[in-house]
Amino acid sequence: MSSAERHGISVDVDHNPYLAEGSGTVDAIVSVTADVAATAAEPDRVEAIIIDCSTSMQAPIEKFEAAKRATAAAIMELVDGTYFTIVDGTEKAASVYPKEGLARASTETKAAAMRAVDGLRPHGGTAMGTWLAHVRGIVGQRKGAITHAILLTDGKDEHETPEELGAEIGLSEGEFTCDCRGVGTDWEVDELRAISTALLGSVDIVADPEDLAEDFASMMKASMGKSIPDLTLRLWTPAGATVEFVKQVAPTVEDLTHRRSDGGNQCGVYPLGSWGNEDRDYHIQVSVEPAAVGREKLAARVSVVAGEEVLGEGLVKAMWTADTALSAQISRRVAHYTGQAELAQAVQEGLSARKEGDVKVATAKLQRAMELAVESGNDGTAKLLRGVVEVDERTGTVQLRRDVAAADEMALDARSTRTARVRKES
């Protein structure tokens, strides 16, 4: 049985293949669905949990107690046999359990890990780059495993330069995936987003420490559901073509354009991270040299690859026509996800203008965001937007709220990349 059979990967392309004479821009939504059979061989798994042990975690002390309970909840979710490490993060990083290398999850090691976590005390500063470096050094021992980390912090990265953090993020790319959580409101969304985006994970705020345990348990459960370590997207384009962008657009917007590495034979390769039973959508835009009316070209061949094995493939075709009724159509899904990407950008730009005190730009951007969220049925983002702006129900115009809870604003920022799926035709 080949792994293509074990891992049913399907690739579907949705686009309008018709182009007007002289035009060469092709947009397509590529949906990748993984149907991971229960009989699939269990892959090696490595988990790292990094707990921020800076002194600010004890203000109030309930915050640190909640972090310890959350770590215990995540440990409980570890499937037996999973390799794991618990890391104490301050201005440096240290292994809490095991003291060196990786432990293998069992009833005994899990209990020992929980005891070690219980003994932790806040004692220092914050330098997330050193945390990443520490994890990288340990998980590198098990190549080919599904390697995942959870990073928890409550503050800004203070005891290293942004350049040092950036360098460590770069070195960790492709080594492990990382979900980042900020507890409270004294941390920076952009800082954690830089880590989670590069390491193909998620970022979110947990405003109330009481909610941490549930969040950690569900993150770990989701990670245990992954069973394909590393998929890549291989994109073939014809000679003379330019890949304008490759973006994941569902469940969240993640721009992969600059993650391209050369795959030879006119192919670019993009990392897709680890997969469980799930589906993700990608928006690909390619500019090709226009062909004559009546001709057809392959604008892109999209393959989902594990190692060297192609598990699924979709063709993006382009046909040139003189019939403008055909070429003027825009695929519903392309239009929808173009809107979702614009929505995420409008939210982030609006919030950043608001921070800088530019009321005019902030209002315009957030009004546009509200329109896009409502139009596309992105109720989650619309609801979060209402915490930051007031909408005049009659005119639809928005006004910045005078008093905005920091947690509401950070939640909107952190969750701005979450997209709505295309609504079913009614």
């Binding site: 014809p238 001709r295 057809e296 070209k297 392959l298 046909m319």
Partner: protein, 335 residues
């Protein structure tokens, strides 16, 4: 029980699975066959658009251009000539034709012929797959059945059944449901320049009998189209409703068709006396030549190849809005 057959050369009883006759050694399996269009995809020629010499099937691995299909394919089998042409308006040819011959046991009498023409329905994806699959499966099944017994009606029904199954499974790889028309003929020549012609039909491709004048030319098949239903119900052939329904099929082959899409009454056998021509064609031809007498005029007094080309050229000159396929089978000609 294995059905038995007789060797077409020497009448020895043979098993249907035998490849050679035990009596005379004649080949039983290798009835000569043709199918067009050939090389729809896949050729070793370099890419005509960028010169890429690496092998590729449909799309060039360098410039991405889809390989241009040849405009026309022509095949000869015995005295019969088949042509399929992309036409002018369509970028792909979704028609297909196939034919095969079974050597008659009497050397004085011409071979038995089975032929099928299919027109892929453009509104279905990858319609050419259904047309190619149905035409070749239909011909194979007709020849196999005729070899067992010379009962042409049973052979025609066997062909319809095989063609239906082939069209239905033609799109299962790609998940599409391609569909097509199907018109077929079995010609069993008899002594003295006469022949028994059996036709069967699903959709709006047609079969004609076109004798040399002054005998009248006639259409042997009845279209399975909305237009034909209206005409049968009494509507004028010139009426607006009939014109609009001209290409709306009421029967077709494909994954979304009935399990037995043919009408039993579409299968008919007539005895014709040559010289003359049995013609099978897709609507790409008869759209421009709705009157059988006009088709007959283009076939009269010329060899089958010239007739097939003249018909195709006529449709192209008239606009070539659809793919054009013709199969010209001479009856009562000297071989």
């Amino acid at each position: 029980m294995t059905p038995e057959a007789s060797c077409p050369q020497c009448d020895t009883v043979v098993a249907q699975t035998d490849r050679f006759c035990e009596g005379c050694g004649a080949s039983l399996a290798d009835a000569p066959r043709v199918a067009i269009p050939r090389h729809q995809h896949g050729t070793d020629a370099p890419c005509p658009d960028c010169g890429n010499a690496a092998a590729f099937d449909e799309y060039c691995t360098v410039c991405g251009h889809r390989r241009k299909e040849p405009d026309r394919d022509e095949a000869t089998l015995g005295a019969m000539v088949l042509i399929t042409d992309r036409g002018i308006e369509h970028s792909h040819n979704e028609d297909a034709a196939a034919a095969g011959m079974l050597a008659a046991k009497d050397a004085e009498i011409p071979d038995v012929i089975a032929v099928a023409v299919c027109d892929g329905v453009s509104s279905s994806a990858e319609a050419h797959r259904a047309a190619v699959a149905a035409s070749t499966a239909g011909v194979d099944a007709m020849l196999a059945a005729v070899a067992v017994s010379k009962k042409p009606r049973a052979a025609m029904l066997a062909g319809l059944e095989a063609a239906t199954a082939a069209a239905a499974s033609a799109g299962t790889d790609s998940g599409s449901a391609p569909s097509c028309t199907y018109t077929a003929a079995i010609v069993i020549p008899t002594a003295g320049g006469t022949a028994q012609v059996t036709v069967g039909n699903v959709g709006d491709s047609r079969s004609y009998w076109l004798p040399e004048p002054p005998a009248p030319a006639r259409q042997l098949t009845v279209d399975d189209s909305l237009a034909q239903e209206l005409i049968t119900a009494g509507a004028s052939a010139d009426s607006e409703a009939v014109r609009r329904g001209a290409h709306t099929l009421t029967r077709w082959l494909g994954a979304d068709s009935d399990p037995e899409p043919w009408s039993e009454s579409s299968v008919q056998t007539i005895t014709v006396t040559g010289p003359g021509t049995v013609l099978l064609c897709s609507d790409g031809l008869w759209n421009y030549l709705p009157d059988a007498a006009d088709i007959a005029r283009l076939c009269s007094g010329v060899d089958p190849g010239a007739a097939a080309r003249a018909l195709t050229e006529f449709a192209l000159r008239a606009g070539g809005q659809d793919n054009i396929t013709v199969a010209v089978i001479p009856i009562g000609e000297d071989r």
